[in-house]
């Protein structure tokens, strides 16, 4: 197992380097540059040239990449080409809010999806089953921005009980309660999504297990129904769910871009959008690398958990 993890980490390194190279190429091919974005075009050519030199954009693309890579090896992600803030600081300061939003949504989403999916499978074609399946379809198919705007209308404009944007109230001391209030609406939107997707996975996985012969055997040997379900069915049904949850993390990162924009959540999504729009090369590179690391780590964790949960899987040698 240990060897397996080490090997996976070593495989991850060339993958990450490849991702940064591809990202750099695509980024360099996109029209526009951070200098174009700086000011209206009447700024003289000499001034633009000075700015290019200052930002290191006068060198050929591969030299720019190598210099970025050299700094990366020293743990330096460089400076934003627009704000001159260290990229690492920018990412770290926005990572917290995004993780908070995603973490809470994932936990609540799963806490809803798992029991509901199981119940729904056990009572197939019952009213509860139909309600759960319909609900899950709604959760998947109602667009995030639509649900978000609807919630804002009801809770912020009409009832005036929830703040429509941000993570804390500007001018207040903030605090846990304040953050909690700001969390409610974005979490509802993301949870609807997570729960919607996973109810269906849990349900179908459970339905499949319920057909298995070993359940009949368990019942035949006289086990109580709750034991049959909880010990034999549910635990096996949840194994494939681990994979799905591993995939949830990158999806949530993507969904966060939209949600963060609607609710002005101070996370990584907004930073990504504005860096791309302003062609802030160094920040885009940093964000891309972060996203790649997260996906790879999420995958690795999924595989490890898989092995821990399912004794049939072994990653030795």
């Amino acid at each position: 197992m240990f060897n397996y993890v080490i090997r996976r980490i070593f495989i991850a390194i060339p993958v990450l380097i490849g991702v940064t190279i591809i990202n750099f190429i695509i980024m360099s091919m996109a029209p526009g540059s951070p200098v174009d974005m700086l000011i209206s075009p009447q700024i003289p050519a000499e001034a633009l040239a000075a700015k290019r030199i200052e930002l290191g954009l006068d060198a050929p693309a591969y030299v720019q990449y190598l210099s970025w890579f050299k700094h990366l090896l020293q743990g330096d992600l460089g400076y934003s080409m627009i704000t001159y803030e260290p990229v690492l600081n920018m990412i770290l300061s926005r990572m917290g809010p995004t993780l908070l939003l995603m973490g809470v949504s994932l936990i609540i989403g799963v806490a809803i999806a798992v029991p509901l999916g199981i119940l729904s499978a056990r009572k197939q074609y019952s009213k509860l089953d139909y309600a759960a399946v319909t609900g899950s379809f709604l959760g998947i198919s109602v667009p995030n921005f639509f649900l978000g705007l609807g919630l804002i209308y009801v809770f912020s404009i009409w009832l005036k009980i929830l703040p429509s944007s941000g993570m804390t109230t500007l001018g207040s001391e903030g605090g846990f309660g304040d953050i909690l209030l700001h969390l409610i609406m974005p979490v509802i939107v993301l949870t609807a999504n997570v729960a919607g997707r996973n109810i269906r996975y849990v349900r179908s996985s459970m339905l499949e297990i319920l057909e298995q012969d070993y359940l009949r055997t368990a019942r035949a040997k006289g086990l109580k129904e709750t034991l049959v379900i909880n010990r034999h069915a549910v635990r096996n049904a949840l194994i494939p769910i681990i994979t799905v949850l591993g995939m949830e993390i990158p999806i949530l990162f993507g969904g966060a871009v939209v949600i963060e924009q609607i609710f002005s959540w101070p996370g990584i999504g907004q930073l990504t959008m504005s860096s791309i729009m302003s062609r802030d090369y160094s920040t885009i590179m940093g964000l891309n690398l972060t996203a790649a690391v997260i996906v790879i780590v999420a995958n690795l964790l999924t595989d490890i958990t898989y092995a821990l949960v399912d004794p049939r899987i072994k990653y030795s040698k």
Binding site: P41, Y84, S165, E173, G175, L180, L181, S264, S274, M277
Partner: protein, 537 residues
């Protein structure tokens, strides 16, 4: 196995317990919150993020406003286009080449030391250093001793046109005679003095990346920075020792929002006001905002215009460009699309500009004339022109559709291509376009740099006219306001004839403010001059 299972169970129990306990802790916090948070604060909604707070090189209007609250300019322009003293008490000249700047003697930094002539000179030298690469350096190119880009020649340490008279007085010399208005509009507005004591030990090439530029610790304006999160908010506290009088507010915040969120948050009370051209309310929301209870609105002047770039390589004949101008139904766009919240513009000046010549009437909508002009010029009706339009502005997108239809009906095939700002600018600069639409706001007092850029060689239209070049040369050194007006008037006549880049419409940005805020008024020029007197009921 058995052991394992029970351990998992207890961990789960613990986690579940934690989930219940944590929010409970939070609730006790909430209850005590309100008393701690009743600060006197005003929240301002903006739709453009302040991309940097670097006073040497603020990028965009949002940056300039926020930075200007910490580092005062020498003077600031008010909505009536007069200059109000800020850091300087006065800027005077007798011969239009030597300008005497008298700093406010009470002006001081937040560390208690006075703001002196040395600070101003130190800042000028930083701005003139190519290693700092300030995007505003070129506005200082009028000073003696600097090249036209505003840079000091390598090897030189002093700017020959800058002289310290005493601790609070300076004399600045310009290369050519300059009107007092232009001097105030360039050096007066864009020189945001920084503290020499705090920055003198940082090498110029490192200054943009220095911690000071991320979070300035020594400032001189009415508000101090608390927290800055580029895409979301800027939080500022009052500078109680502000030399023009301590602000009555305790806090001033800027919230970066989507356009549609401005009206939402005005209604929910999460923001108190907007800045008309920087916290843009979509035209679709105007009616709603005007009808809101407790909110007052201000119809702003027409400042920014939509211009159509025409690549002279694709449309070489002036007659064809005139035809484009005749074909556009601008009245329809202003009346129906903008619902009257704008004006038809033709040429570079809107009604807000002191140099607009009202005798030069906008070209009337005349499709028949357009057709005949096209026929005369031998326009190839099989040709299709690409119209590049900035994406994201719904009004502009709709206007572009109307324009494309207008052009099609007279026989010019147009295909609309949407592009984000970076792509659009890149296309325009490289001249890889046929027609393009871009929003341009000309400085009302000093439109010369923009006009010269759009009409002289090297512009993204490929347009060239000797008469225009002559006028621009004359304007560069003229100091008599009447003559300047005359030259601009002639220029407008030529532009109306040649149509190098027709303008289409100009929107009147709406300002909105909650009635709980007193003294303040949402406006694009001079909004923050009296910010220390703002208060909340």
């Amino acid at each position: 196995m058995k052991f394992n299972f029970s351990m998992k169970k207890s961990i789960t129990t613990l986690l579940v317990a934690a989930l219940f306990i944590l929010p409970a802790c939070g609730n006790t916090n909430t209850a005590s919150q309100p008393s701690a948070s009743s600060k006197k604060a005003v929240n301002i909604g903006i739709t453009f993020s302040p991309s940097t707070l670097n006073p040497l090189s603020p990028v965009g209007l949002a940056s300039s406003y926020v930075t200007g609250l910490m580092f005062l300019p020498l003077v600031d322009i008010d909505e009536d286009l007069t200059y109000k003293p800020m850091l300087a008490d006065s800027i005077e000249t007798t011969d239009n080449t030597t300008f005497t700047i008298k700093l406010n003697e009470k002006a001081k930094w937040t560390d208690g030391t006075p703001v002196t002539s040395d600070d101003v000179i130190f800042t000028l030298k930083l701005m003139a250093n190519p290693k700092v690469a300030s995007v505003y350096a070129y506005t200082f190119g009028i000073l003696e001793g600097l090249d036209d880009s505003g840079y000091l020649q390598e090897g030189k340490t002093d700017i020959s046109g800058v002289k310290k008279v005493d601790e609070h007085t300076l004399e600045l010399k310009t290369k050519a005679p300059t009107t007092l208005n232009i001097f105030k509009d360039t050096i007066g507005r864009y020189l945001l003095t920084v503290p020499q004591a705090a920055l003198k030990d940082i090498a110029p090439e490192n200054i943009n990346k220095s911690e000071f530029m991320q979070k300035p610790t020594v400032t001189n304006g009415p508000f101090k920075l608390v927290e800055y999160n580029r895409d979301h908010f800027v939080q500022m506290d009052a500078n109680k020792d502000y030399f023009k009088g301590a602000p009555k507010l305790e806090q001033l915040n800027f919230k970066v929002l989507q356009g549609t969120a401005i009206s939402t948050q005005l209604q929910s009370g999460e923001i108190d006001m907007n800045i008309p051209s920087v916290g843009v309310i979509p035209i679709e929301d105007y009616e709603k905002v005007k009808g809101m209870e407790g909110i007052s609105t201000v119809d702003g002047p027409a400042i920014a215009s939509q211009f159509m770039y025409i690549n002279e390589k694709s449309v070489p004949d002036a007659k064809q460009r005139q035809a484009i101008s005749y074909a556009l139904n601008r009245e329809l766009i202003v009346n129906k699309l903008l619902k009257g919240n704008g004006e038809v513009v033709d040429g570079f000046f809107t009604s807000y500009s002191p140099y607009v010549d009202t005798n030069v009437k906008p070209v009337a909508f005349d499709p028949e004339k357009a057709k005949s002009l096209l026929q005369e010029s031998g326009w190839d009706t099989g040709k299709t022109l690409n119209l590049s339009v900035l994406s994201g502005d719904s009004t502009l997108e709709n206007a572009a559709n109307i324009m494309a239809e207008n052009l099609k009906s007279v026989g010019i095939n147009v295909k609309i291509q949407m592009a984000d700002l970076a792509t659009l600018i890149d296309k325009l600069v490289k001249m890889e376009y046929d027609l393009g639409i871009l929003t341009v706001s000309l400085t009302p007092i000093n439109p010369l740099p923009d006009v010269a850029y759009f009409l002289q060689e090297g512009n993204p239209n490929g347009y060239h006219n000797v008469e225009i070049d002559k006028l621009i040369t004359l304007l560069k050194s003229e100091t008599d306001e009447a003559k300047i007006k005359g030259y601009y008037s002639e220029l407008q006549k030529i532009v109306a004839q040649d149509v190098p880049m027709p303008s289409i419409y100009s929107t009147k940005a709406l300002g909105a403010i909650n009635n709980r805020v007193t003294v303040a008024k949402p406006k694009d020029f001079g909004m923050f001059i009296n910010v220390n007197e703002w208060d909340v009921k």
